[in-house]
């Protein structure tokens, strides 16, 4: 695998300065052969609760699951779980994984026709069964799709407990169909399982969503890539966040690895590039001192694929220390944008229109400044933007629930900054 890691930062700090920020861009050209370096296992979880009967969702979900199966590469291990009040394996036989082939895919598609909506929603149980299936194939690229249309019916705290025990075992992309599911619930799953979350408002769009997720998963060539961060003594890591393609705080996922170093899981990788914001607090140095604030490595097991340095240099020259690094400024803005949208929507739900107007106004301003037009468009479905430059907005009286959920789920989506200068 050919990986590169590059740090973008202003290494110059004013005297007394202690906060070091850098954007690390990790790029991989994929494996040399363009093929997976290890096996892959895919589990498709389809909500089959009673509510799925509404609006033709069950029929659309069956169609989407079939499309997903069709996209599986030959040789990939897979299973389909029917999500009801318990987890029921729809294909192949309970406790088994099928090996993808024209024959097994045709068998799977026939079994999907038997999927009927009845019963409740038990996401914890569904994910637990998926984890048991993945456990048969250690070292595989492990990916799941979870489709639901409603609230989790399990007792409070159960889903969280399951997520705690299965976190890091596989990645899971979640999709909510319709508008009766909770964004916060699926976001919790995405956060624990390094996945994405999105709304599929219209059941007819499910097929495209499933195809996209499976195609993306099939493009991964490495299973378990990690960011190893070494920092000197008396240093505190403020946070490690993925900031592109979307904002994901990885700080809580740190696993200690030797003296003063820790690993942060990045999940599976293919031919792609992602950006990370690393913020470190150091002890201040003297004018002219240079410190290595963090050594950042892209690792897979014991292999170090790429490395870059985050430095701190103290200077009395304010011309140097006040330079704004474009990457750091841009992604700091994108993270604030996600926070402003989520806080604004929460305030709006709570009836606090004043806070909602301020937060969503700030969001409109940040989206405009950074050229994040996709987010600006989503914001415009919830607020009337009078002046994006000043962030002057008015809350719309009537907002489509699907639009609001789309804004919420896609609030963490970021755009990349131009690379013309650093």
């Amino acid at each position: 695998m050919a990986y590169t890691a590059e740090a973008f930062q202003n290494e110059f700090l004013p005297l007394g300065g202690t906060e070091v920020n850098a954007i690390v861009t990790v790029t991989s050209t994929g494996s040399a052969t363009g093929r997976r370096t290890t096996g892959a296992t895919e589990v498709i979880i389809v909500d089959a609760s009673g509510s799925m009967q509404a609006e033709g969702r069950m029929a659309a979900a069956r169609q989407a699951a079939k499309a997903a199966v069709t996209c599986l590469d030959d040789g990939v291990h897979f299973a389909i779980i029917a999500g009801v009040s318990t987890a029921q394996q729809l294909f192949p036989a309970p406790g088994q994984l099928a090996v993808s082939s024209p024959q097994s895919r045709a068998d799977a598609i026939r079994s999907i026709d038997r999927l009927q909506a009845s019963g409740g929603t038990a996401m914890g149980a569904w994910l637990k069964l998926a984890a048991q299936l993945f456990a048969q194939r250690p070292g595989d690229i492990a990916h799941a799709i979870l489709l639901t249309d409603g609230d989790n019916g399990e007792h409070a705290g159960y889903l969280e407990k399951v997520l705690e025990s299965i976190g890091g075992k596989f990645q899971c992309d979640s999709r909510g169909v319709g508008t009766n599911w909770k964004v916060a619930e699926l976001r919790k799953i995405a956060g624990a399982l390094l996945g994405t979350v999105d709304i599929v408002a219209r059941p007819t769009d499910l097929t495209a969503a499933f195809e996209q997720m499976i195609t993306n998963a099939m493009g991964k060539t490495s299973a378990d890539v990690q960011l190893k961060v070494w920092t000197p003594v008396n240093t505190k890591i403020r946070y490690v966040k993925q900031v592109e393609p979307s904002v994901v705080d990885l700080s809580g996922k740190r696993v200690e690895d030797g003296p003063r170093a820790g690993r942060y899981p990045l999940g599976a990788w293919g031919n792609e590039s992602r950006d990370y914001h690393i913020s470190v607090e150091v002890n201040p140095g003297q004018a002219g001192d240079e410190m290595l604030a963090a050594r950042v490595s892209v690792v897979e097991g014991d292999d170090v694929h790429a490395q870059c340095l985050i430095r701190a240099v103290w200077t009395s020259d304010s011309g140097l220390s006040t330079r704004i690094n474009r990457q750091v400024a841009h992604y700091t803005g994108q993270a604030e944008l996600a926070d402003a949208i989520q806080a604004g929507l929460e305030a709006r739900k709570a009836g606090d229109e004043h806070t909602a107007t301020i937060k969503l106004g700030r969001a409109a301003q940040l989206a405009h400044e950074s050229g994040n037009s996709a987010t600006t468009e989503l914001l415009a479905t919830v607020v009337d933007i009078d002046d994006a430059v000043t962030g002057t907005v008015r809350l719309r009286r009537r907002v489509d629930a699907a639009d609001e959920m789309a804004l919420d789920t896609r609030s963490t989506k970021t755009v990349r900054v131009g690379r013309s200068s650093s």
């Binding site: 920092t231 000197p232 003594v233 008396n234 240093t235 150091v282 140095g285 004018a287 002219g288 001192d289 240079e290 410190m291 290595l292 604030a293 050594r295 340095l309 240099v313 103290w314 200077t315 009395s316 013309s420 200068s421 650093s422």
Partner: protein, 301 residues
């Protein structure tokens, strides 16, 4: 970690340095906390940058001259560089000062000093600078143009030839009286003075040190200024970066400082001048290269 018994390393051993018995590399410990230093030059414990080779370098040609470069006290790395070569009575000297606004300025000055210095054996100083300029241009990329100043001189018998781009200087320090500055800075301050500004006021301007010519892909067309002269009376040729002359802008004071340190020989003199700048604050990298000119060699010893 083993200490190799080597007479040449006595000085460094005394300073606490040790060497690897396997590869002979100098093993350094962190000056801040005493921790070990990793391959990339940073302390494996406190993260501080250990001293780099280029932070302080010296060259000693005995009575024929010497050169010293030092990081100074305020800059995080040494972006100055020198070249010093003595073959029989022929001496070639170059001093370069990296332009801090460019990344990899240290690479630019190292490359320029070496390229010009090697060219001086067969080319005059102005032509040697043009060769160095081409080499520095080649370091440039789309978004980064490493850059530096340069002053180069060659001594052939009593004849001294010199050329420069930027604000690194060459001086002739006679047996008595003030130093003579052989170069004129390519700087905003000097242009202001040429246009009639008061020299003292011009030097106080915040842009006084802004240079108007340099080596680098983003530089104006390269036209080194040059001069040549025969020196009959003995004296000392001194090339230096602004890290030194900033503290000795008065020609009489410059001459006194040089003459006052020559008793111990050229190397001791170059060290003393670097120490002088460091004692006054060491605000910039400091580089001094000097050689006796005019009259029999070693007359100042």
């Amino acid at each position: 970690m083993t200490t190799i018994e080597c007479a040449a390393c006595d000085d460094e051993r005394a300073a606490g340095a040790t060497f690897c018995e396997e590869c002979g590399r100098r093993l350094i410990t962190c000056a801040h906390c005493g921790g070990g230093v990793g391959d990339d030059g940073y302390c494996e414990s406190c993260g501080m940058m250990a001293e780099r080779e280029s932070d302080h370098a010296e060259d000693d040609a005995g009575p024929l001259g010497a050169a010293v470069t030092d990081r100074g006290k305020r800059h995080h790395r040494n972006e100055d560089a020198f070249f010093f070569s003595a073959r029989a009575a022929d001496v070639d000297l170059v001093v370069c000062d990296g332009v801090s606004a460019s990344a990899r300025a240290d690479e630019a000055s190292l490359l320029a000093a070496r390229t010009a210095g090697e060219a001086l054996s067969s080319a005059d100083p102005a032509d040697a600078i043009v060769v160095a300029g081409k080499a520095v241009n080649a370091l440039g990329t789309d978004h980064d143009s490493p850059a530096c100043t340069i002053v180069a001189a060659s001594v052939r018998g009593d004849t001294v030839s010199w050329a420069w781009v930027g604000d690194s200087r060459a001086y002739f320090v006679p047996g008595e009286g003030p130093a003579e500055q052989l170069t004129q800075d390519d700087s905003w301050a000097r242009h202001a003075v040429d246009l009639g500004a008061d020299p003292e006021k011009a030097m106080l301007s915040p842009q006084a040190h802004a240079i108007t010519a340099w080596l680098g892909a983003d530089a104006p067309a390269l036209r080194p200024s040059s001069g040549s002269r025969d020196f009959d009376a003995p004296g000392t040729l001194v090339l230096c970066s602004d890290g030194l002359w900033n503290y000795l802008d008065d020609p009489a004071g410059f001459a006194d400082a040089v003459r006052g340190s020559l008793d111990g020989g050229p190397l001791a003199a170059a060290r003393a001048l670097v120490d002088f700048a460091n004692e006054r604050g060491g605000a910039d990298n400091i580089t001094v290269a000097l050689t006796p000119v005019g009259g029999p060699r070693g007359v100042h010893r």
